[in-house]
Assembly symmetry: C3
Amino acid sequence: MAWTLGRIAERVAGEVCGDPQRVIEGIRTLDEAGPRDLSFLTGSRYLDAARRSAAGAILVAERRADLAGDQVVVADPARALARLLEELYAEPVPAPGVHATAVVGPDCRIDPGAHVGPYVVLGRGVEIGAGAVLHAHVVVGDDCRIGDGARLHPHVVLYRRSRIGAGSVVHAGAVLGADGFGYTSESDGPRKVPQVGDVEIGAEVEIGANSTVDRALLGSTRVGDGTKIDNLVQVGHNVAIGRGAILCGQAGVAGSARLGDGVVLGGQVGVAGHLEVGAGVRAAAKSAVYSSVEAGQTVAGIPAVPIGLWRRQQALVRRLAELWRRLRSLERRTGLAGEEEGER
Amino acid sequence: MAWTLGRIAERVAGEVCGDPQRVIEGIRTLDEAGPRDLSFLTGSRYLDAARRSAAGAILVAERRADLAGDQVVVADPARALARLLEELYAEPVPAPGVHATAVVGPDCRIDPGAHVGPYVVLGRGVEIGAGAVLHAHVVVGDDCRIGDGARLHPHVVLYRRSRIGAGSVVHAGAVLGADGFGYTSESDGPRKVPQVGDVEIGAEVEIGANSTVDRALLGSTRVGDGTKIDNLVQVGHNVAIGRGAILCGQAGVAGSARLGDGVVLGGQVGVAGHLEVGAGVRAAAKSAVYSSVEAGQTVAGIPAVPIGLWRRQQALVRRLAELWRRLRSLERRTGLAGEEEGER
Amino acid sequence: MAWTLGRIAERVAGEVCGDPQRVIEGIRTLDEAGPRDLSFLTGSRYLDAARRSAAGAILVAERRADLAGDQVVVADPARALARLLEELYAEPVPAPGVHATAVVGPDCRIDPGAHVGPYVVLGRGVEIGAGAVLHAHVVVGDDCRIGDGARLHPHVVLYRRSRIGAGSVVHAGAVLGADGFGYTSESDGPRKVPQVGDVEIGAEVEIGANSTVDRALLGSTRVGDGTKIDNLVQVGHNVAIGRGAILCGQAGVAGSARLGDGVVLGGQVGVAGHLEVGAGVRAAAKSAVYSSVEAGQTVAGIPAVPIGLWRRQQALVRRLAELWRRLRSLERRTGLAGEEEGER
């Protein structure tokens, strides 16, 4: 790439403070940027780094007198950065065609504009849309459908009848459609309940590396359009996730839970089975949602409670030693000392 | 499938309330079932859905006057459902034989009734039993043994000398036999302790997608017959798990821990190393078992304690604000007010 | 193997108490060892097992009168064991060469001493050093560099431009360089921020099975020399981990966190994004590091606090019932009983 600062500003509806003819060849962090790089200041915590930066220009939210280099003033530097990265660092798209080593089952319908990479294995009756990309070693079970422009990274596995919407991305090692975890309890131990449903992933969904989405007992496990799932996340059978939700790394959702549109689960959050998490609910990292949560709430803790309540409880737990001191003082001063019971 | 309701009832020792000649073509959830489907009512929370359901017939625990369609009354609808699914939705079994693209090392013994799929790679001296199925891209190290009827889904990896019992199922991406996590602490950092043991999985075990079971330092990491392990579960080196245990999604068991028969770990439970969890112990989701637990207990919390104690502690934590109010009131009314110490 | 006890003692600078001509053919645990095996006593908790052991000889820290068999007295039995395992159980190294089924992109530079196994897929411009081993089904993206003697186990995936230092080991199913999890919040849902950085793994690093290390937004996600990462661990984009750190199973580190040299994260620990964990910090299993931690501290809890404080808080929580009893007693005896407010 080699763009002028003026052209960059135009693309992000920004204003140049400095030389619009300056040539920018890359985007780098404040610490790593040089005179031919653009960098960005997305929060005051990075202000010192911005002052020290050798960047040729910096995306800023407002013009700053304390920065040496040129500036591009935009409404939201983080968004402007994202849009510039989209334009300047587009991923190369592999050429259409089916690699000679791919094993293709009977009755598959592969759009001629799709890319099917080396050692991909397709079962019977698989449909692959225009512009879809299946990287090396992807395995697709019988009767799966992969939408236009979807990308499956190496080693992704789809069990039979999984459906991936248009434009969705599944990262390496993710497994969609494995058996849900269902057993009946018998006298000689757990006995498997066959899981005969499937998985339906909407459009523009992203699923992280080595994450797992189980197929339903009956019907479908569903992930709605635009939802983003990070790495090593577990989604149990018959879960239904709405649109535009965000599940951070190592979160887990147990069977038949329902998550509304725009729900955000922090890292390592757990959601118990058979409950309802309303639209827009946010659960803090590491919290455990043991019961249903009404739309719009932010919760934290194990078990998860509204975050304000959690903060107050935490503050009170931190003051337990003081509580004891004051109780003992009162006992002493009233002459009504209790007996220490020791730890139990 | 196309079974009469009478035949279905016969298979599950149930009683038809309605037309035994009714033809059933599928099993669906209450919401999705139509007049040619069987559905099921497994708990009172689904009663409204049952009343609204268009299902031709519903499996119920007792005859209900408030349901419109036919009913099949059985002792346990969940078990009856499981048995019908087994009969009506049996998984297709791939044809026996070794795919032309499989790479087979020297001295392997593959039963002619086994299926070895495309791009499977077998090391030296691998034994595969009758009716075993190795799906595409499975990699099996030297001297592994795979029992009769075992199924390894795509991309499963077995390191050398792993043994899988008859009828066990390993889901896609699971890794058995990777090095245990053992290091000595040296002045220049951690130094690896070679892990020279192996992994032994019993019969009728199920291991979920992308789960990991490490091989032992010496001897074997063991998973007993009939134990079921969900997705993304970590089992450390030298762990011994008994028969019929259940480990839910994202649970983790650290090295050398011993879990008795029938132990149930909820989702995201952690068990520390070198401890003993007695037979039948149940640990609630997200709990952390830091010390040994006697057989038969149910525990919860971080650290895990008996669940009754955990509930009482949680209730008391929720009442801390009240405790403070009453203490302050007492201080005020006795005229012996303490000094606020502020938060620390 | 078949070594005399005298030769074994020499290798670990130990002293034989018994017959230096005794022939040892294997190393086994105390329970499993027989007369031709060496075993080891690494802590007093195993003393009973040592007394019962049929081992021909035992590595001990000091000569013991209560053991029947021969002894080899060494300064540190665990280290002596590790060194003997290194010598006696060296992993076989696959023969150099590129397997006929490997797909090699243009402009790759593969050292003739490297091993590239069956069905490995290499992109464009990949460099592989002397003695490196890529096991079956490894997929390596464009422009990756794999150092001398590095080992990539089956199904490892490296996205483009990932770099692995000399002697590092990546276990089966691990994914390095997948997209970091970054989105801007738009009115119609989250929108992806392209992740254009990469991953740099130092020398002598070990990464466990099915772990994931995301590539940076810009710049590199970094793991320092000698750091050891267990199975199913998540390392977010732009994380920087120092040298000789240890991350136990299922730990997770959110984006842009910085971990100093020698940090130890217990199993299932979570570290929030954009914070600093100083050198030598230790976090107990299952803790949640929500804010920066100064070098050298040991922390525990959710949120993580210094472990001494955590233990005191836990002790006080366990005594809440007593606190209530004493408060009520005081209320009663002063005649100033408060009103029960009930649970909330």
